[in-house]
Amino acid sequence: MIPVSLTDIQGVLPETIVVIAALAVIMADAIRRGHSGALLPVLSVLGLAAAGAAAIFLWGTSGTVFNGTVFADGFASFFKVLFTVIGILTILFSPHYLKITGVRLGEYYALILTAVFGMMVMASAANLLMLYLGLETMSISLYVLAGSQRGDVKSAEAGMKYLVLGAFSSAFLLYGIALLFASIGSLDYEVIGTFFASDFHPGPLLVSGLALLMVGFAFKVAAVPFHFWSPDVYDGAPTTVTGFMSTGPKAAAFVALIRVFGVALAPASSLWSGVLTVLAILTMTVGNVVAIRQTSVKRMLAYSAIAHAGYLLVGIVAGTKAAFAATGYYLSAYALMNLGAFAVLILLNRRDEGSYRFEDLRGMGFAHPLLGITLSVFLLSLTGVPPTAGFFGKLYIFSAAVEQGHIVLAVVGLLNSAVGAYYYLRVITLLYMAKPEGESIIVQPAAYRFALVISALLILVIGIFPEQLLRVITLAVP
């Protein structure tokens, strides 16, 4: 009996390519230890690009492979492409950062690739076990990445903290899965969906299982009150990794949320949508209010990442196809703008200890036009000012909420985005409206400039002409 068919392999082609690329990077690093130059990042980018191309090539397939454990549908393909974009951008920003921080970790690039692999597994999981394994593959890569700046104790501690809380929350998630398994007898989303779709009385065991599952997810997306780990981890991790962690894993977790809660558990939405509404409101509000009080730009972005998770939760609560499409759009936009913002921060940081004080940004906008303009675009997009992608994403998510009658949620969310304007625009005022502190010379590698300009342009393009992207996502939504 041959349990694997060509269709199976085709369905996971992007993942396979990423793993092969990761292995190639490890080998290359082992052979040319310390003298690999640009080889590792180039290999990684090529691998990711090939994986992305494969995902695009697979566009249009549907259904599951590997005996119903893996989705090979448009939704998975869409996010696989997004993950490769996130991976490529992160890698383009990395060599410079690794150089200035003195990290020479060949495994760095391999781990980015395996993390992308884990995200892809999460996005295409059609079975709770696959979800768990993808999550852990991604998380363990990130634990190491967070702790990879070995010269810096903050980094190691961030890695440890991330690991302890990650493992802790995974255990909750897994216990939730176990209780669901105890009541349903299967881990396949499809079976779970059928179970809930048919007439059922949510037994207490099921409710407890769902609650634990939700706690696990809430930890993973850093929803208040399970958010306390994220600012510290984001702050301590190497900045490129922070950008990566705040975008990719978030997208992966939200795909899983959509697949599990939005689709499979949709018939039981009365059980969880109320709780999720409260979580969303808390997350948006607390994230924003705390972000205002930060003195480090990096921490500010970390807290604002919490707020953005709140906006995204609104999409899950709204629970329509349009809402999921909106979530997908917002995650794409968020990936570009947040990665970009972190990348500019890396260049603008003038002190070695990685403190990223607000004061360091004084007058940098006019001194370094490219950095100033791109950072402004990223921040305006994070604020949600038209014609950026951030604006359209927010509008699209909240319109889905209004459509479903969650008007209070929409009002709270939009007022929150006005609060967000305060701390994002404060950065711009420093960039352009404050006197600079002395001269500064900033190295801007070509790959870096290229990645920044592309991200900023993409944000504007998909902000002004969202139609194409919208169509693609809308078609893909399960």
Partner: protein
Amino acid sequence: MQIELTHYLLLAAVLFSIGVMGVLTRKNLIVILMSVELMLNAVNLTFVAVARYTADLTGQVIVFFVMCVAAAEVAVGLAILISIWRHRGTMHIDSVKLLKW
């Protein structure tokens, strides 16, 4: 007295809660890691028990995967611990003061 699924589930719940308590009350990172292992064991016990009482092997297969993940987590966790130890010479969350717990 016949041993039912209920008993196994209750035992697992107790073990899980003990693990949670360990994570929340201890400050020694290595003990916290061990507490997480306790939690995972409780989950495994649940899976195996359900597998037995529904005569479905899926539960046992899942446990196999969870054990692999647990081993990987411990390995990475210990590696990070050692790297913290190099810097600080201690394993307490108290000493992790650069980042507020």
